[in-house]
């Protein structure tokens, strides 16, 4: 299992390497910019090993990546890895809260919909879900901002925090809510919360739609099994059978689903961050893209990809632990 994880991540590095290496743009220029002198150009050319064979270049690349060297960003002139560390927590914050919403609202909704299949709770959940995954999130974000920020003034606007509140708390985790809570600075906390509400609710809705749909499908499958009938024969009530018998069996595949949802939110955040000017990884990648900052784009892609792969691997692992039939295997 670890071997396959390794293979996948290596595959990812191969892809990012290929993109970086085989682009029509001169990779050296991408690093040094248009105004570098010839000596700088030659030096960097040697540095990134363009005089060597492709497999050698790949190994060089791999070595650098493993030591955390993603090169420098043309845009910010920082090492890319530093930028990534700076921007990642914002995305993490958004994706985590959205997944929590998705789980705590989506799972009960899915169970209710499946257990009451064909009745009105089922229809409501199914429609909400259908809307959720037919919805272009960037559009919903715009509409949400227009309604809840511009018209109603209920939530904070774009950005993570109002300009006046920036840099008021020391960055420990990079997660504003956590950092401000640690310091007890509730003004910053509530301002940050006001800005977080809308994008998190949006992503949370998308997550909820997916999780509820899968939960519903799993519960329907389990409720058709003989052991549920056996539970009713023992004298179990209907909802007792649903929650104490069917649901533990649903938990097993549900873990994979939650993992998938979390992972996909991390990349779905790209669009949300653009709409809300949320300073996270997605925004960083998009901005670097338009500045032809290849190092930043590829570094960001690698990190997002690795986290994506990592989360799926973790949920795979948890799946094996939770299902007693797979434990010895």
């Amino acid at each position: 299992m670890a071997a396959s994880l390794l293979a996948t991540i290596l595959g990812l590095t191969a892809v990012t390497f290929s993109i970086g290496r085989f682009i029509p743009v001169d990779p050296v220029l991408a690093i040094v910019g248009d105004h570098a002198g010839k000596s700088t150009y030659d030096r960097v050319r040697l540095e990134i090993g363009l005089d060597r064979s492709v497999p050698e270049q790949y190994f060089l690349y791999l070595k650098k990546v493993l030591s955390g060297d993603f090169g420098h960003s043309v845009m910010t002139s920082n090492p890319v890895i530093q930028d990534l560390a700076h921007f990642f927590p914002a995305t993490l914050e958004l994706a985590t809260i959205a997944t929590l919403i998705g789980v705590f609202a989506g799972v009960p909704a899915g169970v209710a919909a499946g257990a009451l299949k064909g009745r009105w709770p089922d229809h409501v959940v199914r429609f909400l879900g259908l809307f959720g995954y037919s919805m272009p999130i960037f559009w919903l974000g715009l509409v949400g901002l227009w309604l809840f920020y511009a018209k109603l003034g209920w939530v904070g606007g774009p950005g993570r925090i109002d300009v006046g509140f920036e840099d008021l708390v020391t960055t420990r985790t990079g997660l504003l809510l956590v950092d401000s809570a640690i310091e007890g600075n509730w003004d910053v906390f509530s301002n940050a919360l006001g800005h977080l509400v809308l994008p998190a609710a949006l992503l949370g809705y998308i997550s909820l739609a997916y999780i509820a749909r899968m939960t519903r499908s799993f519960i329907i499958e389990q409720l058709g099994q003989e052991y549920v009938v056996a539970a009713r024969v023992k004298g179990c009530s209907f909802w007792g059978a649903v929650w104490r018998h069917a649901f533990p069996n649903v938990l097993v595949p549900l873990i994979t689903v939650i993992g998938l949802s979390y992972a996909s939110l991390l990349e779905g955040a790209v669009l949300t961050e653009t709409v809300f000017a949320w300073p996270g990884l997605g925004l960083y990648i998009t901005r670097s893209l338009f500045n032809a900052d290849m190092n930043a784009v590829l570094g960001g892609t690698l990190v997002v990809g690795a986290v994506f792969i990592g989360i799926n691997a973790i949920s795979d692992f948890l799946y094996r632990i939770v299902d007693p039939r797979l434990r010895e295997a």
């Binding site: 029509p24 259908l130 809307f131 960037f138 509409v143 990349e267 669009l271 784009v297 960001g300 799926n312």
Partner: protein, 297 residues
């Protein structure tokens, strides 16, 4: 089964059996009002794309009129105009073309690749299976949008690159489906009979196994269409995908972003188009799945 099927005589040829099966499936699909609505939306999309000029009353989608900027929807301009005075209705209609081409191209790429990879892996088994599935898993593990961004960064924006980027991460699920079905089918007596008749592996694969995988693949494809449309629109929103002045729904939403507070229609209407089309594919896909695999509803 309807009473009609019982009173008919048996079909006289394989072609006739296929047509009848198709007609039965279509009838069952249309009984479901939501699926029928989805089908209507998809057909409307195709019609708009093919007959774009007629449907838009020959209003040129790229004609600018700086005296008619940002007009609200009305009799002259059904959906109003954007900040360059272009008729939004015409742009939405022509945007259907872009959307449909992306969707069709992606489908045309991923279905054959996925089927080929999955059916081969499932049929030949052994090392072929391991290698192919390993590759599939690697691509399956990649984040779609971010990878598309990276491609766009490298190759430059444009529809072709967007299609390639999306297709590259969209094919793995089809390989998985095809493999799962193939493994089940390959063990069947039906295939054993064909083998005993002396059929070569390629013939078995293409004439017998692949057709049986088709229904699962079609259902999955239809359901995926919605996601592909959203991803493509997302890329358009970010400025990748179709380039100006071509009308593309995602790009139109982005263009309307700055004026969303006052001139809401510029961003809202293209967004609504994306939503409706995506919804249509989802409804159709759900309906198809109910017809082909009722257990999975």
């Amino acid at each position: 089964m309807s009473a009609v099927a019982k009173s008919d005589s048996a079909p006289r040829s394989q072609a006739e059996a296929r047509v009848r099966g198709f007609a039965r499936a279509a009838a069952r699909l249309l009984e479901n009002p939501l699926a029928a609505a989805g089908l209507a939306v998809v057909l409307a999309l195709v019609a708009m794309a093919v007959f774009a000029d007629t449907v838009s009353f020959h209003i040129p989608p790229n004609a600018q009129d700086l005296n008619a900027r940002l007009l609200a929807p009305g009799a002259a301009h059904w959906f109003g105009t954007d900040d360059l005075g272009r008729d939004i209705y015409a742009r939405v209609v022509h945007g259907a073309r872009v959307t449909l081409s992306i969707v069709a191209l992606v489908a045309a790429i991923v279905a054959p690749i996925g089927l080929a990879v999955g059916a081969s892996a499932g049929y030949f088994g052994g090392i072929v299976d391991v290698v192919l599935m390993r590759i599939t898993d690697i691509f399956l593990a990649f984040p779609r949008l971010v990878l598309a961004l990276a491609f766009a960064a490298a190759l430059g924006p444009g529809i072709e690159n967007a299609v390639i980027a999306i297709a590259l991460t969209a094919w793995p699920p089809y390989a998985r489906i095809a493999r799962a079905e193939t493994v089940t089918i390959a063990k069947s007596d039906y295939v054993a009979a064909v083998v005993l008749q002396g059929a070569a592996a390629s013939r078995i694969l293409f004439r017998h196994i692949v057709p049986l995988c088709l229904s699962s693949v079609i259902v999955r494809l239809t359901l995926d269409m919605a996601g592909i449309i959203l991803t493509a629109a997302g890329l358009g929103f970010l400025g990748l995908g179709a380039q100006p002045p071509t009308a593309e729904w995602g790009a139109m939403v982005a263009a309307g972003r700055d004026v969303v507070l006052e001139q809401w229609w510029v961003a809202t209407i293209p967004g609504l188009a994306i939503f409706i089309v995506s919804l249509g594919f989802n409804l159709l896909g759900d309906g198809l799945r109910d017809v082909f695999d009722p257990r999975a509803s």
